[in-house]
Symmetry: C2
Subunit: 340 residues, 2 copies
DNA sequence: CTTTCAGTTGGAAGCGTTTCCAATTCCCTG
DNA sequence: CAGGGAATTGGAAACGCTTCCAACTGAAAG
């Protein structure tokens, strides 16, 4: 393969100068820079980041750890991060934890320790003490998305706030019989996010003087299918039905809509539904939601990390709150029955 | 950081021996092997694959190139490949081409050439001559999933066959007025898959003596939303409505179901719908489909590549046909009107 | 016309492994 | 007990870069 030595030879320069010219670091005369570039282009030379990383310690590679690759939020973060990294010339190593504990273990105890990545993005991971330590042991900048990561920088949305906002949207329309589909508390790969959103829901309800009925709070695993089942139960078993449902994610809102249709309930006439996310399907389904710009969160994480990398790998733990945006579509409306 | 030298010192062995002991290659006495292992474990030593790759040429990293991270099929392939790689101790570098031509270009002209990957999996990519050349220029094993990749090994399903199978399922139920939602031919990131599936559809129709009505063949971009729009047009504009729809993917089948519901059409009473994929949502929606085990295809691709890697990076171009499986659920039934 | 200094340049020492090669040890043969 | 081959070991040379350092250049300053 053609190496930097070949380029140097062709350009009539030393290896050192070519390296400086190509990397843009250090002083090189414009002429030499141009000759180096030209020679590299002619030879189709591409730097080997492997070798480069050995010498410089920079791998030009960022690790992205996600609990799953199927849930919409994670795909969106991947997409946003991937594009931002591509643009910066960085590779993206994907660690899909999945449900297998052995996989999870090896990601934290082998893969991440191989000094292959300059930085790590951890998405919606509820980490154990040991895992956090492993992460910090890498001595690399880390940013967490979707919840707090002790000692790391974090990008998050105001979960309590948006839950309140969503609930208030329903309350504002005149609903008082509002159900909530939350996440499983035990779903240990997620931050305490279910609880937080649920807290916002309850707070808004209380503030409005609406009773929170325990039987109208059901939980699911954040998937369409799980919420579909939960919503069926909610809608079937109630002696009295809620007139609105606030789901903790769009996928669960979609599951709710599907379940409602099974019962012949019209959306929004018989049931209003609101979610959180900004899922692509929301458009088709007319789902009212709170858009949290997951793609943007992924991109922001990358920008944060690249900043830290060029800053000598130091990243002050910080907390960035990402803006959200209520998108009103056709799944929410004034309840048919006169409000209390 | 602790390096192999530290391990060697601690174990009272030479660096060379420790390297052999840890990698399992070359002859090492059981005693030395054990001492090396122990010392490595005690020090929490993890091999740097960067350095390792410089010396050995093996990166322990596989590149996965996908057109998008959102469409179900791609996520599923990623999931399957990711798990298989994790198990083998390999990293997965994800290249999400996306819609940006510049990104696409840099993936093929920069990223893949950096000698960072031992092998490449390319999913559903319709590649240009130049791109194929770049790929082969890497001189690494390549496997394509979802369609032919000139000169590379391929994992695919029998697209014509399953399209026939799907169509025959509808025909067998008594349908004759069958519409088809195909992919955009011009959708250049996909193989000629839309055409192939459409061909199978037409063949089955012809064989059954059913006319193929051009106005009942509409195309979309393989997404739920796109198919939703296409199906709305199909269902709205027809002076006569089809009694069944065969969609070239589950996501498009789902879009069709959503559109049908907008028109008050009951599934399957008024409209039967069948798709192809094995999408998770199929279960909730009762979607009849042909499961193509995308996860399995991803895993198989990995196994194929790992085989090639241990075989000196040579991979005979071959063609593996992955099995598919008709899953009959509730979205297809005998048409209400008496069949012709 | 020296001196000085910033801007350029090349040599060479690593970076952390693998692997070739030669040396050593050990266990069998004869 | 010498000789031979296999198994085991360590030294050292790569692998393809970056970067420290010293040497050199030229122009501005004195």
């Amino acid at each position: 393969m053609t190496g930097i030595k070949d380029v140097a030879e062709r350009a009539g320069l030393s290896v050192a100068t070519v390296s400086r010219a190509l990397s843009g670091k250090g002083n090189v005369s414009p002429g030499s820079r141009e000759r180096a570039r030209a020679a590299a282009a002619e030879l189709g030379f591409v730097l080997s980041y492997h070798a480069s990383s050995l010498a410089s310690g920079r791998t030009h590679n960022v690790g992205l750890v996600v609990p799953s690759v199927h849930r919409w939020f994670f795909s969106a973060v991947i997409e946003g991060a991937s594009a931002a990294l591509l643009e910066a010339g960085y590779d993206l190593t994907l660690y899909n934890i999945g449900e297998n504990p052995a996989h999870r273990h090896s990601v934290f105890n082998d893969f991440l320790l191989r000094k292959r990545v300059d930085a790590v993005i951890a998405v919606s991971l509820e980490l154990s003490e040991a895992e956090i330590q492993q992460l910090h042991a890498m001595n690399r900048p880390i940013v967490g998305i979707g919840g707090p990561l002790p000692g790391a920088s974090t990008i998050r949305i105001d979960d309590t706030g948006i839950a309140r906002k969503a609930t208030n949207h329903l309350l504002g329309l005149g609903h008082s019989k509002i159900a909530h589909i939350t996440g499983h508390e035990a779903y240990d790969q997620d931050f305490h996010l279910p609880g937080t959103r649920r807290g916002g829901f309850e707070k808004a309800m209380n503030d409005a003087g609406c009773p929170v009925r325990p039987e109208w709070i059901v939980s699911a695993d954040f998937t369409v299918e799980g919420a579909y089942r939960a919503a069926r139960q909610l809608l079937a078993s109630a002696p009295e039905r809620p007139t609105a449902v606030f789901a903790a994610s769009d996928e669960m809102a979609i599951g709710t809509i599907l379940a409602a249709r099974d019962f012949g309930l019209r959306i929004p006439d018989d049931l209003s539904v609101i979610g959180i996310d900004g899922h692509d399907l929301g458009n088709v389904l007319g789902l009212t939601t709170i858009d949290q710009d997951a793609k943007g969160q992924g991109a922001l994480a990358v920008r944060t990390l690249l900043g830290a990398i060029s800053n000598g790998l130091v990243l002050e733990p910080a907390d960035a709150e990402h803006p959200t945006n209520l998108v009103v579509r056709t799944s929410t409306a004034v309840p048919k029955e006169s409000p209390s």
